[in-house]
């Protein structure tokens, strides 16, 4: 327990990015403003590209309220959950490369969706019954939770972070292989699976927004509640313990937040690349906050990123849609490349 579990790099990056660090509050305000702006843009971009529908006609109203608004808000919330989960993961594992999919939830969700698609295909009429009620989203969530539980079982709890990381990688591989196997046996589901694997924000309705919203509020509260522990953890596990941090309780709480946030986001929007990894880094490049600020700021940044990607995904090829996960990977990867180019590691 006293032993350092992982040779992790310290989170607080020491390089001086700018001489006069911005205050976390100003960054938060910028991100909130960006969110509001993007929400407005999000309601004005649809299947014809830029096309604000303020006419008040019946269909226009419906498209605005039933499609564009919930979709934009859902995309923001899913991005925020991923950003938050990413910040929690990087703090908990004390590793800047940690991302929220680390516990196997992404591949678990993919497997759940694949199995559900096959079930629907085998008994289409059962699709009216329990299958419909659970739905693809429910199946994705169940898959994510099961994968995380398997990871926790394999790691014998949450107390050994290195074991947990390793178990997560193994479970991720395993569930990835399993869903590949399902797709191989039943290729009919390929097209629907592809939509999930590349991420899609197109089918978010008010139900999804409500669910994501409740989970987001809950996750932020719990995560921020544990933020002093994460700050202490950045100094090393033994230091954290000597500071009187109840590590076992902290780990249980934070792994729970991570699993729930990631599972919900993945189930609703599919596998979105990079947001969870990128959002905390973006914040750390701009300010040097403690976790009390880092966690909500990373959530805001994640939300802004995914919402921006969602707006672009509908806009660029309208009325066709780019897979939003592809966009986040291109934008996120491009940013990281630029960052490495500017500041050689």
């Amino acid at each position: 327990m006293k032993r350092e579990a992982a040779p992790a790099m310290p989170i607080t990056s020491e390089e001086a990015v700018d001489p006069a660090p911005r205050s976390p509050l100003s960054v938060a305000l910028v991100l909130v403003a960006a969110t509001l702006l993007l929400l407005a843009v999000g309601t004005a971009v649809g299947s014809l590209g830029w096309e604000p529908l303020w006419s008040g006609a019946d269909t226009a109203n419906a498209i605005l309220w039933e499609i564009r608004l919930p979709r934009s808000m859902g995309a923001w919330l899913a991005g925020a959950l991923l950003g938050l989960a990413g910040a929690v993961a990087q703090g908990l594992f004390r590793n800047p490369l940690a991302d929220p999919y680390l516990l196997g939830s992404a591949t678990g969700a993919a497997f759940g969706v694949a199995v559900m698609l096959v079930l629907i295909g085998v008994t289409p009429m059962a699709a009216g019954g329990w299958v419909a009620r659970l739905g693809l989203t429910g199946a994705g969530f169940v898959g994510a939770v099961v994968a995380v539980l398997v990871t926790l079982g394999l790691a014998r709890g949450v107390q050994h972070t290195l074991r947990l990381l390793l178990a997560g990688v193994i479970v991720g591989m395993l569930f990835g292989a399993l869903s590949a196997l399902v797709m191989f046996r039943v290729p009919d589901i390929l097209r629907s699976m592809q939509a999930f694997l590349l991420g899609t924000t197109g089918f978010l309705g008010w139900g999804s927004v409500g669910l994501l919203g409740v989970l987001f509020a809950l996750s932020v509260l719990v995560a921020v509640g544990f933020s002093p522990a994460l700050d202490a953890l950045a100094l090393g596990e033994s230091t954290a313990i000597s500071l009187g941090i109840p590590l076992p309780k902290v780990r249980v709480g934070l792994v729970g937040v991570m699993a729930l946030a990631t599972g919900a986001a993945v189930a609703q929007v599919g596998l979105i690349a990079f947001i969870g990894l990128l959002a905390p880094h973006l914040i750390r490049a701009a300010v040097k906050p403690t976790h009390r600020w880092l966690l909500p700021l990373a959530a805001l940044a994640g939300g802004v990123l995914l919402l921006a990607a969602d707006v672009l995904a509908r806009w660029l090829l309208a009325p066709q849609e780019l897979p939003v996960g592809v966009l986040t990977a291109i934008l996120g990867g491009g940013y990281l490349l630029w960052l490495m180019h500017r500041r050689p590691l």
């Binding site: 299947s47 039933e66 564009r68 698609l117 299958v131 097209r191 939509a195 089918f203 309705g205 009325p319």
Partner: protein
Amino acid sequence: MKAWLVALAVAACLAPLHATAVQVVDDRGRTIELREPPRRIVTLLPSLTETVCELGACDRLVGVDNFSNWPDRVLRLPHVGGLDDASIEQIVALKPDIVLLSATSRALGRLEGLGLRVMGLELKTLADVRRGLGKVGQLLDVPGAEQVWSRINEEVDAAARTLPAKLRGTTVYYEVGGGYAASESSHIGEILSRVGGANVVPGNLGTVPKLNPEFVVRADPQVIMFSDRNVAELPTRPGWSRIRAVREGRLCAFTAAQGDVIVRPGPRLGESARLMVQCLKGELKGRP
């Protein structure tokens, strides 16, 4: 004795002719030359299997891909794997005179490298179906490719005639799954417009574009066609309850077997046209 000599002489005259009895250029632009029409054929695409059988050469098939399931007699043949992961070893062991497969299949190069003859065909549109029929007919050295093509056309036209005039121009959205639609330029779209349906997805978006779901709500199609895999999920998409097809319950969920007929650009396009007409007339009901 004299008869023998005559027979020999005739055979001698025919031999050089037979040396290149079959010469076909496939869709990759490769010339395939065979000394005699192939007797052992492997097909790695369901539409090609159906084409070979439709030309009356089903008995020459010695192996098919895992998805080929029509006509019934091909079910008894060895199934040598999927479209892109067929078992090369199994195919070689069948000693085919030729392998018919998609021009973009990964198996092409490997099979050629092992000394097998292959014919790569690309079937996507109705024009492709006609060209494919012609080439396969030429390869098999059987007549009737043009007749099959005109029969398909007659069946499609006959199906179109059974659609009442007031249903002509019914607007249709055809979803192949996951938000991807079959546009006017896909073979599904071509058949749909031939029978009198009006596809809401224009052809210039590509054959199978992924659309913003809002596009369908605005297009407000009168009928939605899709595979029964999506039967529960599709009407619950945000805003889709407003679409006329959903409100009026004019949803056609095709079964797997019906879906096979529709998605395969092969000789059963007449049946595909009949299915679409049945759907437009409300004789095929999917459950909302």
